[in-house]
Structures are given as structure tokens and as C-alpha cells.
Chain length 171, copies 2
């Protein structure tokens, strides 16, 4: 819940590409220290990152002090033709995202454009959105650096994989 | 609340430029009949439109059948130098938006870019967001047709006006 606040001495700074996705999900670019006061207003229960690198101490300390659970599903950016987004990591991330105990959750990568965009696109597919509106949303956040490969990834992603994984009870 | 649904026979179609703004607010372009099944999943309590024209019967009937309250604060688009967005209408719209009895609410104009963008920008200002992040969000939805005039409107908007209006208890 984002409380409505009277004017602050210093303005609240959401991370770049911040947005609400769902009643239980937010997305953004990599949050830095200056964004922490804003993140505090969201009452997050978890943060899920898609970066491969080790999470910075500063961010870990912030999560610890707020009692926010941390999940990392490190995936490389989808840079054709060298790297492909691994389906299994995305499916596992979606399982974790769907778990109500982790809500509200923030998902982020570095820019909040491509990897986050792919993950949210797959979530929208689970929600039954048309590909047209999924791609519109993807491009809204990735423009002017939208990638066909990312959109193709979402189109080809087998959502059944997520349901099967949930039935196995694993992540 | 957007329920997570198993795959539909026909995909859900959110209106163009649809997005969640807050835990209690959505934004979009003008919703047409094909978008109604999607809107139904949001459990809306009200719809606020910024168009000047009379609301189409089809939309009114949808709202009536769903028990959704309708608000209209008709304003012209901000097309310099002929037309200016009226501050008083925006302040009144914000008062209505802040009333919890109307949540969750959908706000829309025609494209969901300029008038809706101005209104959401003023809401973000009330929430204490920095102008930089307010403008980033405005441009995300209005690109490539972003207007400096709209951003200037948000920058100059006197948020105190909203609080004064609320104290008067009027709209």
C-alpha cells in the first residue's frame, strides 16, 4: 500500500521504470540507496531480482532491516544470438511470484526493461492477456530498446511449465 | 483484484495504455466493448472519465450492470495555445479519486496519454514523487506524443488546491 503523504521535505524517488503490475506486484530497475525511502512506503514482503551478480551489501542490509525476503533468479540478458533466457529460471521465478506469502513483491533487473519485461510478459500470459497487449506493455518499458527476441521468448514460453512446477511443489 | 486465471478460450484484452497506478487506481485509454470482460476482473467500484463527450450507451450499460459508479470531469485536451487544462476540474477529479468509497477506480480519457497523464502526474505530486520520476512516467504513456505543456501543467499545479477543496467537503 502506498500511503498518500503530505508534501515531503525531500521528494520521494521511485527507481527508474517503476510501476505497479498487479495488486501484489511491482517492477523497477535496480534500486539504489536514494530509492529506499520510497520502497519503504510499499510495505514489501519480498524482492526478486534477475541479475546474475551478487547483491550489493547496501541493498541486502536494507532488505534485512525491513524484514523483506530476498529471491535471486540470475539470468543473463537476452542478447541474440549468444545468450538465451533460460525457460526453467523464468518458470521457477513465476512459481515464487505466485506464492501469496511473498506478496507484495518487487521484481527488478538492472534497467527494468528486458529481463523484467520478459518475466512480466510471461506472467501476463498466465493471466490470459492477448499477445498484443502483452507486447504493448513490454515495449512501453523497453522503448526505444525493445527486442524482438524478448517478445518471441514470451510468445513461445510454455505456461504449462509453471503449473507443472507448482504441482511438484518445487522451485 | 485481478484474479489469476487459467488459459481462456479467448484472451483477455485490456484497453490500450492500461496500467495499475496505485493499490486503488487503474488508468487506460477509452474502454470499448471488447475490453469489458477484462475490466470485469478488476472489481471496479468506480470509473472516472475526462472526456467532454457524452458517455456511450454501451459503456453506461456495462457500468450499470456491474454496479460501478460513474464520474465525469470533462476537460479538453491541452493543445497549446488554444486550450488549457482547467486546474479546478483536475483538483475536483483528484478529490473524487482520493475518496476511498470509490476504490478501486479506473481513470481514462480517449488515448490514456495526455489528460489522464496530467491527472496522474498531479496525483504523483500529491504523493510526493520527484518531478523527474513523474515526467518519466508521463512520457512512458504519451511517447512519442509527449507534450511539454502537460509536464508544465503538472509542475505548476498547486496541490494545496486539492487539500483546500477537501476541507470544503465539496467537489
Amino acid at each position: 500500500v502506498t500511503p498518500l503523504e503530505s508534501p515531503h521535505l525531500s521528494p520521494l524517488l521511485p527507481p527508474d521504470n517503476f510501476s505497479m503490475v498487479n495488486t501484489w506486484l511491482y517492477r523497477s530497475s535496480f534500486p539504489k540507496k536514494k530509492h529506499f525511502p520510497f520502497l519503504r512506503t510499499l510495505g514489501l514482503r519480498s524482492v526478486l531480482t534477475l541479475i546474475l551478480e551478487e547483491y550489493p551489501d547496501q541493498n541486502t542490509q536494507f532488505l534485512d532491516s525491513e524484514g523483506i525476503t530476498f529471491f535471486q533468479f540470475g539470468i543473463p540478458g537476452n542478447k541474440e544470438p549468444f545468450v538465451q533466457i533460460p525457460d526453467d529460471k523464468i518458470a521457477a521465478a513465476l512459481c515464487t511470484m505466485l506464492d501469496r506469502r511473498n506478496h507484495p513483491m518487487l521484481v527488478h533487473c538492472n534497467k527494468g526493461k528486458h529481463r523484467t519485461g520478459c518475466l512480466i510478459g510471461c506472467l501476463r500470459k498466465l493471466q490470459g492477456w492477448s499477445l498484443t497487449t502483452i507486447f504493448d506493455e513490454y515495449r512501453r518499458f523497453s522503448a526505444p530498446k525493445s527486442r524482438s527476441m524478448d517478445q518471441e521468448f514470451v510468445e513461445l514460453f510454455d505456461t504449462g511449465r509453471v503449473w507443472r512446477l507448482m504441482e511438484e511443489g518445487g522451485e
